[in-house]
């Protein structure tokens, strides 16, 4: 993409991303929070595309959509007041955490600006899919394997944990939903 095109996509996307991200935490409704998160991370995918990473951008959009939808389902199923209609305040120590968050963000931004980065290529090409594939199957094979096994464990473990009676297989106590 040309720099203008990149800029045209980037800036609005960045703005939407940040705002929706912030609103995730300012809403009382858990369902709405999940959907706002979906919006934020999905727009991030657009940014990935703008920054010449087609594969990753598409991947992000795919994954995030599936993930957030599942999340919202669960919240609605298991949480009390998922709609936030009872107006519970789900935050604590707002000021302190806000101050800390701002401080960290500022610190990181300062680092980003101040540091002397290596020579920048404004119009460079990000690696295409083929190159990524070679990378994964070649040099980063071990990490990929490890990640695979971890996913397997996570799946099994998560299923066990979520099951009635946990991993011990006990019958669920009466009155449990």
């Amino acid at each position: 993409m040309s720099s203008l095109g990149t800029a045209l996509v980037f800036w609005p996307s960045a703005a939407i991303m940040l705002v929706t991200g912030l609103y995730v935490f300012r809403t009382a409704s858990m369902a709405r929070a999940g959907l706002l998160l979906l919006a934020s991370l999905g727009v991030e995918g657009l940014i990935f595309l703008a920054l010449a990473s087609e594969f990753l951008g598409v991947l992000q959009l795919l994954m995030m959509s599936g993930e957030m939808v599942i999340m919202t389902f669960f919240m609605v199923m298991f949480m009390p007041d998922p709609g936030g209609l009872m107006g519970m305040d789900m935050t604590h120590e707002k000021r302190r955490s806000a101050a800390l968050a701002v401080a960290v963000a500022v610190g990181l931004a300062v680092v980003a600006v101040v540091t002397d980065w290596p020579a920048q290529t404004l119009n460079g090409e990000a690696p295409d899919v083929r190159q990524i594939g070679f990378e994964v199957m070649g040099r980063s094979m071990f990490s990929f394997l490890f990640a695979g096994i971890t996913i397997l464990f996570a799946m099994v473990g998560g299923t066990l944990l979520a099951k009635h009676g946990g991993r011990l297989g006990l019958p669920a106590p009466g009155g449990d939903r």
């Binding site: 980037f10 920054l51 993930e67 968050a101 960290v104 944990l161």
Partner: protein
């Protein structure tokens, strides 16, 4: 006009928002959402590095892949845990889950 510091700056802000959520929310699921945001910020930074500083390194892309996987994993396992806790305690509020108090 979009240079690395800009991308990193945006990433920094997003990281901060995520952090605000992690520290400030009482519900465990909301905290997880904050973590998702933070991981998203790290992905953005990685993309920025890959695009602007080290274009030849495909390992950057791989890293992003791993982070994405992690996001999914974390959500899955985290949800399973929350369900389990909710079954026993009828609550997912962090303020009520203080069994680790020393």
């Amino acid at each position: 006009m979009i240079s690395l510091p800009v991308v990193l700056g945006v990433g920094a802000v997003m990281f901060g928002i995520g952090l605000y959520g992690v520290l400030g929310q009482t519900n465990a699921i909301m905290v997880m959402m904050g973590v998702e945001l933070m991981l998203g910020a790290s992905m953005l930074n990685l993309i920025g590095f890959m695009r602007y500083a080290w274009p030849d390194a495909a390992s950057g892309a791989f890293f992003v892949l791993i982070v994405m996987t992690l996001m999914a994993l974390e959500a899955a396992v985290g949800f399973a845990l929350v369900i389990s806790v909710f079954r026993n305690r009828r609550t997912a509020e962090l303020d009520d889950l203080t069994d680790l108090k020393g």
